[in-house]
């Protein structure tokens, strides 16, 4: 088993399931760690690696769905639910809250592996996004207050003269701020800037049409 670039957690109160699922994941060359209860999992130290949790709904200490809800408030890894009986309301609720999949025992190798891989991919992407976002935030922090005023207007698609009028400054001054913003945000184009602003949840406050009025 190669040094792991990922980790799969298994939370199930049945040792046979923990054992079998671990074995199956290992046979697929995956690294798995199993816990017998939600509490054990929550308390455990987790390596900073792309992760997926295979979570049994019927846990002795806490319902898997409730655990999902708790974790959603933090940075939760993707969850693949496994359950003894697949009742529709539970599965709907689980999927609504972002579960990767909802598998009824006994589940097939393919279903489980597909779900786990999906989960890992999601998490890998989420982690990348989180890293990216952290970089963007750092860059955003370097903007001056006036540059932070300019950014929403630019990503809203206003023409320079419109934005300048909005802020009550000259078009030339606006152009200087805009260039600085592009540089500081490492935006290759306006479109790139727009995307980055979106990631930072900077609202496009003005519509171009409204500004033309």
């Amino acid at each position: 088993m190669k040094t792991s670039d990922h980790i799969v957690f298994i939370v199930d109160d049945d040792a046979r399931i923990r054992e079998a699922v671990s074995e199956l994941l290992q046979s697929h060359g995956m690294c798995a760690i199993a816990y017998g209860s939600a509490g054990e999992y929550v308390r455990a130290a987790k390596p900073n690696l792309p992760t997926t949790i295979i979570l049994d709904i019927e846990l002795p200490d806490i319902n898997g769905l409730d655990l999902q809800k708790q974790m959603a408030e933090g940075e939760s890894p993707p969850i693949v639910f496994i359950t003894g009986h697949g009742d529709i309301p539970s599965s709907v609720r689980a999927i609504k809250h972002g579960a990767v999949d909802f598998l009824t025992k006994p589940f097939s190798d393919d279903d489980l592996m597909r779900a786990v891989r999906t989960g890992l991919t999601q998490d890998r992407r989420a982690r990348l996004e989180r890293v990216e976002l952290a970089g963007l935030r750092e860059r955003y922090e370097t903007l001056t207050p006036r540059e932070r005023d300019v950014l929403p207007l630019v990503v809203s698609g206003l023409l320079n003269k419109q934005a300048a009028a909005e802020l009550g400054i000259s078009e030339v001054t606006l152009q200087i701020h805009r260039r600085n913003v592009m540089q500081k945000m490492a935006a290759a184009s306006l479109a790139d800037l727009v995307r980055k602003a979106e990631r930072l949840h900077i609202p496009a406050t003005h519509s171009r049409r409204a500004g033309e009025k």
Binding site: D14, R16, E23, L24, G84, H85, D87, P106, D109
Partner: protein, 646 residues
Amino acid sequence: MTIVSKSVSEADASLTRALKIFENMPGFAWSADPVGKFTYISPNALAYLGTVQQDLDPLADEDEFGWRRVVHPDDYDRIAARWRHCLQTGDRYDTEHRLRRADGVYRWFRNSGQPARDAEGRIVEWYGTTIDIEEQKRAEATLRDRERELSQLVDMVPSHLWRLTPDGQPTFFNRRMTDFLGLDVANMDRPGISRLEAMIEAVHPDDALEFRHALNHCLATGKSFALRYRLRRADGVYRWMSSRAEPMRDHHGRIAQWYGLCHDIDNHVKAEEALRERERSLWQLVETLPAMIDCATPDGEPIYRSQQLREFLGYNLEDLDEAGKPRLAATLDAGVHPDDLAAVKEKYAHSLATGEPYARKHRLRRFDGEYRWVETRAAAMRNTEGAIVQWNVICLDIDGEVRAQEELRLAQDRLARASQAASLAELSASIAHEVNQPLAAIVANSHACHRWLSAEPPNVERAKITSERIVRDANSAADVISRVRALFRQSLEPRKTTTLQSAIAEARNLMAEEASRRRIRMDVDVESNLPLIAFDRVQLQQVLINLIRNGMDAMDCATRDKIIGMRVRRTGAVVRTEISDRGQGIHLPEKIFEPFFTTKEHGLGMGLAICRSIVESHGGRLWAEKNEPKGAIFIFTLPVEPETAS
């Protein structure tokens, strides 16, 4: 002269002799003149009276004839009148009266006198005798008294006495008989009918023939007559009589009279009849009671068995008798089930020894060889001293009950299992979980195993480990399944073709206790003559009990009017069963049948889903409707068996 003197002396001598006769005859002599004055009274009379002749001279005003003082005052007027008459007419004087003796005692005398007349026919003198008849009078009086007594006896004896001529004609009825018949012998004579026939008319028509035959036979043979018959009283009421008659024969041996005695035994006969009737009805009671009755001596030997018991056993009291073996032991050995015999014998022995009542249930062999459960109870009957005189035994065939109880117990067991099944059904999720866990592990392990074996190079060690786990988990799954199967085994019972009635009754009985605890009334209305239906009893009970219990739960908040209605009707090719409640009703009539839908706090929502699947597996339908005025009504139909549907 000599002749004269001789004749004078001869006359003197004859006078002297006459006087001697007068004075010595056993009676008094007297003579009186034509007016009644005594001219002579014999000395023995004067001696009797204790007086002298002069004292008997008439006294003008006080004493007409001079003998008032010596005659009994009660007789005086009568004989004085007679004497006066005779003196006037010259009729012969003949009276009986009492005369006072010197010591004051009166005695009866007969006084006779007749006149002597002269040539012209004039009365010159009366001559008479007075004879003591006291003894004769007494004898007469005694006889009269005796006769009166006898006739009183005959009349007063509290029986009828009668007399017949040798050819049977009544000649005498005593007064009681006359009073009874309202008919005297004297006025029995009617033209064209004999007295005997007239008497027979009073005999009850049903008894008349026998009476006539019996009497004629006796008259002909001279044998004593004895018969019971009903005789009509004057008021028309017939009363039972017991009659006897004996012939009286004269010294030639010929029958002179028949004397009969007849007494009223009506009360006696009625009492006897009533007693016999009571005995008969008691006997019938014992014989026809729907119980087997048996009586035994103080030491337990059977002496009587009622018809029911004889018929049950198929043999009579004496049939089992063998020399040297007590009847009780023979009966017990022959009848009691071998498994019960020792205990029964012990209990009998105990009761016989102590006098305590006996009660025991055991199996008894019927005439056809079938052992049936009976309950036997025995109690000692004691005399006033408290000693046991008899054992009275009652034996009831309780086979049906015992079997019904057994059935009930089995049904309750089945219910317990059914309700267990119901809760298991609700816990089916958890059962599925139990089975699913090892299955899921097996599947995962199998895939892992496959992966290990498919790897390059194959990881045989890991494959071995996983395959061992597969075996382990598969066994564990099999264990769960066999446990579940054991729980559900009863529902593998074959479907029986029967009517719903018994299943409904069973469900009602099983829920009766819970209903009364929850103050719920169960109204059951099952149409009679329901057609046959094939169903799994346990499963159908599960449906019924689920629906009943749901209805009860729905009425938990209600304070009154808590009624579960169970109504079964045939409609066309189905039998329709309705279980109604007076609860809150249903808001989502279709949703309730979905799995995991529940309105209850502690329900998993499987009950109705399972009920529906059971009903549907029987080819029926289950749905809910609104009950009027409130509550819900669950209705399921089951198809009628094709053979009986037509």
